[in-house]
């Protein structure tokens, strides 16, 4: 059981990392601020394994991305956003699962992720103009979050079937 978790976690981190780097190529007025679609893998980890693994995916993904790209501004933003986003998703999933479907939990995670990013970015850049980019970022992030959240739901239902009595999506 434990091995399975470790392997799965590693797999999810790897895919999340790829996603993260691809996201980085999206044209954005603010360098280092990301859309946050990569967070969905933390959600998948959360559903299949648990909160611990979810945090592991987020933390390791952010650290590895920093080691690879060397962009410390993005690191700080992704770290604060990632932790906040994962925390929100954990709370929503473990406590209020009956009130939310997976896509919307992903959206909530995306909002928290963006909020964390923007807050750090605004502080580091010391420029309130960062708030200007908040609205399009949140809206785009909502769509992205919902889309990957839906995919995650479909994936979890599938995996649930494959790996034994899985949790519902």
């Amino acid at each position: 059981m434990k091995y399975r978790n470790i392997v799965l976690t590693g797999l999810l981190i790897a895919i999340a990392l790829v996603f993260n780097i691809i996201e980085g190529f999206l044209p954005f007025p603010l360098p280092g601020v990301k859309l946050g679609a990569a967070n969905v893998f933390a959600l998948v980890a959360l559903v299949i394994m648990g909160a611990k693994e979810a945090f592991a995916v987020t933390l390791l993904r952010v650290v590895l991305a920093w080691l690879i790209t060397g962009n410390w501004f993005a690191f700080l933003c992704s770290m604060s956003g990632g932790l906040l986003g994962t925390l929100v998703m954990v709370i929503l999933y473990t406590r209020m699962r009956s009130d939310f479907t997976l896509p919307w939990i992903s959206v909530a995670g995306a909002w928290a992720f963006n909020a964390g990013q923007v807050a750090v970015a605004a502080y580091l850049v010391s420029d309130a103009r960062v708030l200007y980019y908040m609205m399009p970022l949140f809206i785009a992030g909502t769509f992205a979050g919902w889309g990957v959240g839906l995919l995650a739901q479909m994936l979890c239902v599938r995996i649930g079937k494959i790996t034994g009595p899985g949790r519902d999506g």
Partner: protein, 127 residues
């Protein structure tokens, strides 16, 4: 796909976000004044021409005649300059290119002033 109660709340918040974003954009585009760079040309204290400096397809040159001579002005993308004049000191020509809001070139003998305005960071400069 059916939404649960929490989902509904979130989509309501999202709808409000979209509306706010649209109204913000609408106000920004239609209500706020233009902030593009342009140059104002004053002759004898009166504004005789305003030239937009943005979206210049090709450079433009024109000459302004005074009773004591002339000044030839050239306009390129986001910049303007007096490129030749027959005034004694030719300070206006030596001024070079005006590229930022607030910059100006003056030809005192011909009473000509070219000033670049836009979203200037200051309202005036004391010297």
């Amino acid at each position: 796909m059916t939404m649960k109660r929490g989902d509904r709340i979130m989509s309501a918040i999202f709808a409000a976000m979209i509306i706010a974003a649209i109204s913000l954009w609408a106000v920004k585009t239609y209500v706020l004044p233009e902030t593009e760079l342009h140059a104002e040309i004053f002759k004898d204290g009166k504004m005789i021409r305003v030239i937009g400096l943005k979206n210049r397809a090709r450079p433009e040159e024109f000459t302004i005649k005074s009773d004591s001579g002339f000044n030839t002005i050239r306009v390129e993308e986001n910049k303007i300059a007096v490129i030749s004049a027959d005034c004694p000191d030719a300070d206006c020509v030596h001024r070079g290119w005006l590229e930022h809001a607030g910059e100006s070139a003056v030809c005192l003998p011909h009473r000509l002033v070219i000033r670049v305005t836009g979203d200037s960071a200051v309202d005036g400069v004391t010297f």
